[in-house]
């Protein structure tokens, strides 16, 4: 009995935490399963200023409040990785490293993971210069030159963060203009430590014991050059964490979960919320909105089931 719930939420980012808050306030027995860090991706960034009601602060601070809010109303939390699910039928079975859990309704809120460069040297220097988390690893690069790859919000914001430590930050982007929000772009352009390398992609990461240089290719003229850096921070986009669903719910071509306005997926009783869903804008505020809607729709679904 103790592993039976009304609602199980997979993933503890802003989407899952908000779903937990709404689910438990609706008096559903709610369990949230998170493999590592409650708070999700945003908890690894130092500076959030576009979540309304939260002027500015670290993502960790923001999601700590979300987590406490969900706990206050009774959401149960476990740290475990979901490895397999059985979502068809009235009883959904969620298998994790810590055992099986069951519920008639499930919210999928697994978010995304960083896309890798897939170039020679990336694996070899992972943890020795190649990083996907500037707040985790930035301080190692005090007074050293580093590189950030990408041109979106995450890349540019983390490049600005890294200027606190690094001697110089090369921002390598495959186009000749950034995609990041305008205020963020302006800050980056104004920063003397950030040097832009336009129209370029990373070809190879090299070094002996530690990372020493990156081979970069200009995509317009094919010219190749070496840039001496000791760290490479990769922010070239994301991939949805939907692998373990193995096609049980309908996914987009790129693996994102397809859900309607009520966050319903192609299976009854299975809802999706946040960045793992096919949608236009992937942000904390939209993840939270999705989480609220998904929990509300799950509540209505459970009422009808009874």
């Amino acid at each position: 009995m103790e592993n039976n719930y009304d609602l199980i939420i997979i993933g503890g980012g802003p989407a899952g935490l908000t779903a937990g808050l709404y689910g438990s306030r609706a008096k559903l027995r709610t369990l949230l399963i998170e493999k590592m860090l409650a708070g999700g991706q945003i908890a690894t960034t130092d500076h959030v200023e576009n979540y309304p009601g939260f002027m500015t602060g670290s993502g960790q601070k923001l999601t700590e409040i979300m987590e406490n809010q969900a706990k206050k109303f009774g959401t149960g939390f476990i740290m475990a990785e979901v490895t397999d699910v059985h979502l068809a039928g009235n009883e959904k079975i969620i298998s994790t490293s810590q055992g099986q859990y069951k519920a008639p309704a499930v919210i999928l809120a697994m978010g995304t993971s960083s896309r890798k460069l897939n170039v020679p040297g990336e694996e070899q220097f992972l943890g020795r210069g190649v990083s996907f988390c500037a707040t985790c690893d930035g301080a190692f690069f005090e007074d050293l030159p580093v590189m950030v790859v990408g041109g979106g919000d995450a890349a540019v914001e983390e490049a600005i963060y890294l200027t606190r430590f690094a001697e110089k930050v090369f921002l390598v982007h495959r186009r000749d203009a950034l995609r990041a929000t305008k205020v963020v772009q302006e800050r980056a352009f104004a920063h003397e430590k950030i040097k832009f390398v336009w129209d370029s992609v990373v070809d190879e990461i090299q070094g002996e014991n530690l990372l020493e240089r990156v081979v970069v290719k200009n995509v317009k003229n094919g010219r190749v050059k070496e840039i001496a850096v000791n760290g490479v921070f990769v922010y070239i986009g994301f991939l949805p964490n939907t692998g373990f669903l193995s096609g049980q719910v309908q996914l987009s071509e790129n693996g994102y979960i397809i859900a309607n306005e009520r966050m319903e997926t192609s299976l009854p009783g299975v809802f999706a919320a946040g960045d793992c869903r096919q949608k236009l804008l992937r942000q904390v505020v939209t993840a939270a909105g999705d989480g609220a809607t998904a929990a509300f729709a799950a509540e209505k679904y459970l009422e009808e089931l009874r």
Binding site: G59, C133, A139
Partner: protein, 109 residues
């Protein structure tokens, strides 16, 4: 129930880690590393479970940067596993979860 991990630093690393008779696990963390902080209570539970078999240490990487670089640790969280003064296993960055630490510990002792 949990216990605090044994704090090591550049001064005592040689003696407490490299010179330890027991196998050692070192948890490299930093105050801004959110995944590190999330995992710490779980590692403390494991320390209790493995008491007397594995010595559990933690090292604040931001205060011991040179030592980390010498150990080729430039990402957090990182776990190093030592036997008789030698690094025999390593988990770093994305590889680190509660599960992977548990699994490596099992094969370690």
């Amino acid at each position: 129930m949990s216990t605090k991990l044994f704090e090591v630093n550049k001064e005592n690393y040689q003696e407490e880690v490299v010179g330890s008779k027991l196998p050692v696990l070192v948890d490299f963390w930093g105050p801004r590393c959110a995944p590190c902080l999330a995992l710490m209570p779980e590692v403390e539970k494991l320390a209790l479970e493995y008491a007397g078999k594995v010595k559990f240490c933690k090292l604040n990487a931001t205060e011991n940067r040179r030592l980390c670089i010498d150990l080729k640790v430039m990402a957090l969280p990182t776990f190093l596993f030592y036997k008789s003064g030698e690094v025999v296993d390593k988990l770093t960055a994305d590889e680190v979860t509660k599960e992977s630490v548990c699994d490596r510990l099992k094969s370690f002792v």
